[in-house]
Symmetry: C3
Subunit: 173 residues, 3 copies
């Protein structure tokens, strides 16, 4: 039997990761952090360090930028997992030049089958002006479609604005 899936969606620097971390901490279960970020440049390395410092100790960390579903499949039921984040994972897929459709199917199937409690963090990226570059427009479309699929599959969806949660689905949960 699969565990509950929570999707936390928000803009950049909206407090979504901190909110998602609290969900996992408050579960009382042993905590696993699945990181999809790659420390490719200085900005990203700094960001990863900030996130790691805030999480503190007590997390088992697994880094898997392209196939985080493999980590999910290996988890026992009595774990609470933070997957941070779907946006970095999608970025990694698209940087490889692949159509993310098949990888998405596998990712969503792994989430559905995972026996642990899972919290997935993702970005809202579609509420600005149409981007100038075609790649940005494709990414925006792909991220929007992925978010719709994740939200449809999730038991609970929470939007975070300025650090404050707004439940979009599963309010009684």
């Amino acid at each position: 039997m699969s565990g509950p899936l929570t999707l936390v969606i928000g803009g950049a620097a909206s407090g979504k990761s901190a909110y998602a971390e609290d969900l996992v901490i408050n579960s009382g279960l042993p905590m696993v952090y699945i990181a999809t970020a790659e420390a490719g440049d200085g900005e990203m390395t700094e960001r990863i360090a900030i996130h790691r410092a805030r999480r503190g100790i007590g997390w088992e960390t697994r880094e898997n930028p392209l196939t985080p579903g493999e980590e999910l499949a290996a988890l026992p039921p009595d774990r609470a997992v933070l997957l941070d984040c779907a946006t970095m994972w999608l970025t990694n897929q698209m940087m490889r030049g692949d159509d993310p459709a098949r990888a998405e199917d596998e990712f969503l199937a792994a989430l559905a089958a995972c026996r642990a409690e899972v919290v997935v963090v993702t970005n809202e990226v579609g509420q600005g002006i149409v981007p100038e570059h075609a790649l940005s427009r494709r990414f925006r479309e792909a991220q929007g479609r992925l978010n719709i699929r994740l939200a449809a599959q999730a038991d609970r969806v929470v939007q975070v604005v300025a650090g404050l949660p707004l439940v979009l689905k599963g309010g009684a949960g």
Copy 2:
């Protein structure tokens, strides 16, 4: 007597069109689709084809990129109409170099007078960084102001995030 007006607002690829289509389908009335998009380039042609395939059969389609109010005025009361979308309409107006203020007055008056049930789709475009180009900044201002006027006039306003609805106005409707 005019029919009820619903405004569906969301980011790019947020699932707003699919949600709006369901509202019209669930009305049980004969369905009319007023399209404001112009198939000017490959991207837009592809997008139009995707939307058309999803809607399926059963829709009477009317294309009117600049004066969709004329289509609204011609409709009998026993119709449910999807106007998709106010953002493409505003884009078409601004591409002509016109000040959209007068066209907006006419558009809003046509919505107010329409006897059919109408669902209007529009984009939220103001939640990113200040755009680099002056035209983008002007568009962002114009879209924001239009959305405020549409929302003030609507009986019901629904924001769509990751395919999930959040009622901003007319919750009991």
Copy 3:
């Protein structure tokens, strides 16, 4: 004793300033407007004029682009204050090349100590695509972090979309 703090957050041209003005007008208290905008170019001068015309008479205006906290400290309790906006203030700080962290501490302390009723307007800027320029990315991060701190300190937080309010915190207030 400090007065209540309300944070109004929204995108560009979302109707957030008009909503915030109504909050202050409806307080029935003498009204103070603390302006952080600098009329540096034509666009901003026009925007300031539009805001001023809409507010109408009855406001005492104080302009302070960099240290609005000094205005807050000087206010008696029986005032309702509109500070518009935190985004322009942050922009002014960052244009000077300073790390805004210390100025933020002072700003937040002045808000906490202010005896008047205060409404602060701020922008949501993080829900678009990753900005192309490093400065824009830094600003987006700084604005997001500032919004989180403002929201944590506020008694009431309202998001405005298309002119419509959505209470994120302090719903009973």
